[in-house]
């Protein structure tokens, strides 16, 4: 009860705004002011949801099956490459212009190439998601590692830390505030990519659902997929923020 009060005190405005948005939507659709093609009535959306409840969960699972490996791969690449470049100045100098050039390529343009070169669809999808999201984390990692306080490295040297141990115990933790800040941004990008790569090799997926029904012009379904996706993404992001807070609890 007390917790609820605290919650309400903090979030009453949030709740009000959401309610206001919903009411505005209802008013706009009922009064006929909104374009009925793009903005179907709430009842239609609800009906579409009822008909697709099961599919929604399938979509979520399917999307996660793509997202999780993609995120892990892009994280691994960003960390490994980022660490190497962050620590090795000459290599950084040499590769920066190349990484830079690749980083500005909009990954969605690469889809036919990815399909052509990847052994299967899942790999192609994962490649595209990773490609679209790796850069922010990569650059954040490089910066984070470049700007590690040299005194930590001194301390590590006096403890004779090296190799993997140096990486996991000193370098990555020291750079983690920067890395995680970049990663949040990457994560937001992942969702965007999802909508574009879920077109092949799959019959399910949150992005696929939204995209398919928007192409069909069935906007009641699109809205369902849309709202569902946003809710899931907010939850994922929130979980991630909690994780980030936990990992960075040592910072001030």
């Amino acid at each position: 009860m007390d917790k609820f009060k605290i919650f309400l005190k903090k979030y009453w405005l949030t709740v009000c705004i959401y309610v206001a948005l919903v009411l505005l939507y209802v008013y706009a659709t009922k009064s006929g002011r909104a374009n009925p093609y793009l903005f179907p009535e709430v009842e239609a959306i609800w009906a579409a949801f009822s008909n697709n409840q099961g599919v929604m969960l399938l979509n979520m699972v399917s999307s996660f099956k793509l997202m999780i490996p993609s995120i892990l791969i892009s994280l691994a690449i960003a960390l490994i490459l980022g660490t190497i470049l962050g620590l090795t100045e000459w290599l950084r100098d040499a590769l920066y212009p190349i990484i830079y050039a690749f980083s500005v390529i909009p990954s969605i343009l690469l889809s036919p190439f990815a399909l052509l070169l990847a052994p299967n669809f899942t790999v192609a999808s994962i490649f595209l998601i990773s490609y679209g999201t790796v850069w922010t984390t990569l650059f954040a990692t490089i910066t984070g590692i470049m700007t590690i306080d040299k005194r930590y490295l001194d301390k590590a040297a006096t403890l004779e830390l090296s190799g993997i141990k140096l990486m996991t115990k000193v370098i990555l933790p020291a750079a983690s505030p920067s890395i995680l800040a970049g990663f949040v941004s990457s994560l937001r990008g992942t969702f965007l990519m999802l909508v574009y790569v879920e077109m092949y090799g799959t019959q399910y997926g949150m992005g696929f659902f939204v995209k398919k029904y928007s192409e069909f012009g069935l906007y009641d379904h699109t809205w369902v997929g849309f709202i569902f996706m946003v809710i899931i993404l907010v939850i994922v992001m929130q979980l991630f923020e909690m994780m980030k807070k936990y990992i960075l609890k040592w910072t001030i």
């Binding site: 930590y152 006096t158 830390l161 933790p173």
Partner: protein, 286 residues
């Protein structure tokens, strides 16, 4: 400082812990014609320093801010490479940082992303890779105990500890890995007077009870601290630095905190040291 909830722990010290001593030899330190300039800066910081320090000596390094005391310590630690001259431990030249040259920094004694316990364990595991975890954990707890911290501190992050507690953990770590040479760079510079006095006593006690004793290099601004702790005092001059004064304090002359200001010989020495450190101040302001 803003509203952190420091955990306050009773200061009850149990000095007796059974440490693991794997390196029995404590080394003589011999420095020959040491000069140093930072690479990005041609200015010579240290110029042609030569000293011999016998194993088991507690050396205090005094000198004005910026004269190069920290730089000198970094050279001893193997964190910088001499521009000219060599540092020998017994007869081996120092080439790189290693576990047998323990370092206690002014801050940065602990990695902030690990708990105090993890910090100490990391060092102990590096030092004693053969020992089993349990024994090391016991050692870690014992050393924490020896510096007056209890088990609850073991699980605390550095940011949850006060400055004094952090420094005590760093000291616990340093004594736990038991390096034959211990380098301390103004370890108590940021602490208040009471904490500082207690830590001085602590270090002195820990150092004294060992046998053979470690060789300690202790950088400080504070002449009284030097007099209380060291049996050899070295004063650095400035730009470029060299040893401008040095003296030894025989074992029978060592002061205690209580009688520090009673011995006229020591008071004399104290004034000499203050004069030596500051002698160029009045001449240089005009």
């Amino acid at each position: 400082m803003d509203g952190k909830n420091f955990c306050r722990v009773e200061w009850s010290v149990n000095f007796e812990y059974t440490y693991i001593r794997e390196v029995s030899a404590i080394h003589d330190v011999k420095i020959e014609g040491l000069s140093f300039a930072y690479k990005n800066d041609n200015r010579l910081i240290l110029k042609d320093i030569s000293i011999d320090v016998q194993a088991g000596t507690f050396v205090a390094l005094l000198g004005q801010s910026g004269c190069g005391k920290s730089t000198f310590l970094r050279l001893l630690a193997g964190l910088e490479t001499a521009t000219a001259g060599t540092i020998f431990l017994d007869d081996r030249p120092v080439s790189r940082a290693s576990l047998d040259k323990g370092m206690v920094f002014q801050d940065y004694g602990l990695f902030p992303w690990m708990t105090a316990g993890e910090n100490i364990m990391l060092a102990l595991k590096q030092r004693f890779p053969q020992q089993d975890r349990k024994k090391l954990k016991q050692l870690a707890l014992d050393t924490l105990n020896a510096v007056g911290l209890d088990e609850s501190v073991y699980r605390k992050l550095p940011k949850e500890l006060s400055g004094g507690m952090k420094q005590r953990c760093a000291i616990a770590q340093a004594f736990g890995i038991d390096p034959p040479i211990l380098l301390m760079d103004e370890p108590f510079g940021a602490l208040d007077a009471v904490t500082r006095a207690r830590l001085q006593d602590l270090v002195l006690k820990l150092w004294s009870q060992e046998n053979p004793k470690k060789t300690v290099f202790f950088v400080t601004h504070d002449v009284d601290e030097a007099l209380l702790l060291a049996n050899r005092i070295i004063v650095f001059g400035q730009s470029p630095s060299n040893i401008i004064y040095e003296c030894s304090i025989p074992a029978d002359q060592r002061p205690t905190r209580e009688n520090q200001f009673d011995n006229p010989e020591l008071l004399e020495l104290r004034n000499t040291l203050i004069f030596q450190i500051n002698k160029d101040v009045v001449s240089r302001i005009s």
